[in-house]
Symmetry: C2
Subunit: 225 residues, 2 copies
Amino acid sequence: MNDSGENGEKKKSRRPSQERTAQRDPERTRAAILEAATREFAENGMGGARVDAIAERAGTNKRMLYHYFGDKEQLYLKVLEEAYVGIRTAERALHIGDRSPEEGIGELALFTWRYFLKHPEFLSLLGTENLHRARWLRQSVRLKELHSHLIGELTDVLNQGKKQGVFIETADPLHVYLTIASLGYFYLSNQYTLSTIFGRDLLEPTHLNAWERHIVHVTLASIKR
Amino acid sequence: MNDSGENGEKKKSRRPSQERTAQRDPERTRAAILEAATREFAENGMGGARVDAIAERAGTNKRMLYHYFGDKEQLYLKVLEEAYVGIRTAERALHIGDRSPEEGIGELALFTWRYFLKHPEFLSLLGTENLHRARWLRQSVRLKELHSHLIGELTDVLNQGKKQGVFIETADPLHVYLTIASLGYFYLSNQYTLSTIFGRDLLEPTHLNAWERHIVHVTLASIKR
DNA sequence: CCATCAAGTAACTGTTTAGTTACCGGCTTG
DNA sequence: CAAGCCGGTAACTAAACAGTTACTTGATGG
């Protein structure tokens, strides 16, 4: 990227020990730890995650992990924050107010379902955090502001639909969002026990597609006049 | 952490054979361990639960725990099995086929929501088991048969409703059950993160009642013609 | 070429944990 | 009453764990 600028980055000029320089990469190490931690926490929960395992997965060691993130709890909070930022950022890009109210809600339902499907680690982290009664999330100032936007946008779309006479007057923005999230979350996060007790693989494409259609159907049926 | 507070009862006096007999109560000890384990596993997950804590909560010690249940994993499986038996037994007593189809489905939705509300430990155990991909549940032969009854009964009620022309033809029994369970499970099991990010206490009676009505409304709206 | 600093390694420490063992005391039965 | 069984206690052990410290290695700058 930056070839000419002298300042800042450690240049590798003098001795062409390029490999050495590439090997030493704080940014990359930090990112690797964060990603490894995301997987480890998602797979094992806060109590089950092992700091040694994270270091190993990241291709580094505990010394660096503690250097960059302080301790296990701070690392966990960072992971959780990043996960929330991820979904809310993608959500914002939807601009559900740009279409008709009905299409807007349908879009949001589809997006949420597909995001959950693509990011099982996000669901798992939510589960872990709730097991601990949002102990770490509550400490995060950064996240609370992220969510007012979502409710605001949903309120606008619902109001527009009510004005047009396509939605019922009692439709509530938080309820609509919770409905969409419920149907996606439960199906995926409980897929293992559900598949076991009902004797069907819920992850089969046929069933996944049927459930996707079901979510949109239920969401709209519950608010249409 | 461990305040060794009251050291009240040491060795009970020697004589009274009645108290001795009452004190020695294998059934009660077993039950106490099972109940203590249910709470401990629900609150801390499989990885976070402590065998010592279970023994202490049960008013006994590890020796007895290992004597009655083998090891931590077997105890956990027993807890999980009992939790499932609990809900499925109560569910059976509903006899949802005795009313009109619409009332039957409404009853099932109400029952499920209220059962979840009353038994947070059941939801938590489900979450833990799914984090581990149903590793222990899959070993349990006992549980699979418990669930065919539920689907069978639901199928009958839906068919009756279709015949009467009140339900749409595409209504699917598993989908209906998953819808009901989703709406209850997500709201309650994720109440801590949701309350935090949306800045509302979801457990307030007003909100609980609103959500109860919402679940029945959504369920019926999604299958009514 | 030596001093310095930053990235990274690996062995170590104190504590916690699941699981075990040695033992106690009363009850039942021969 | 002796033998042993059964419910129960408490101290112990080996392993695992989060977090720390002493050290290595190589780039940079005077």
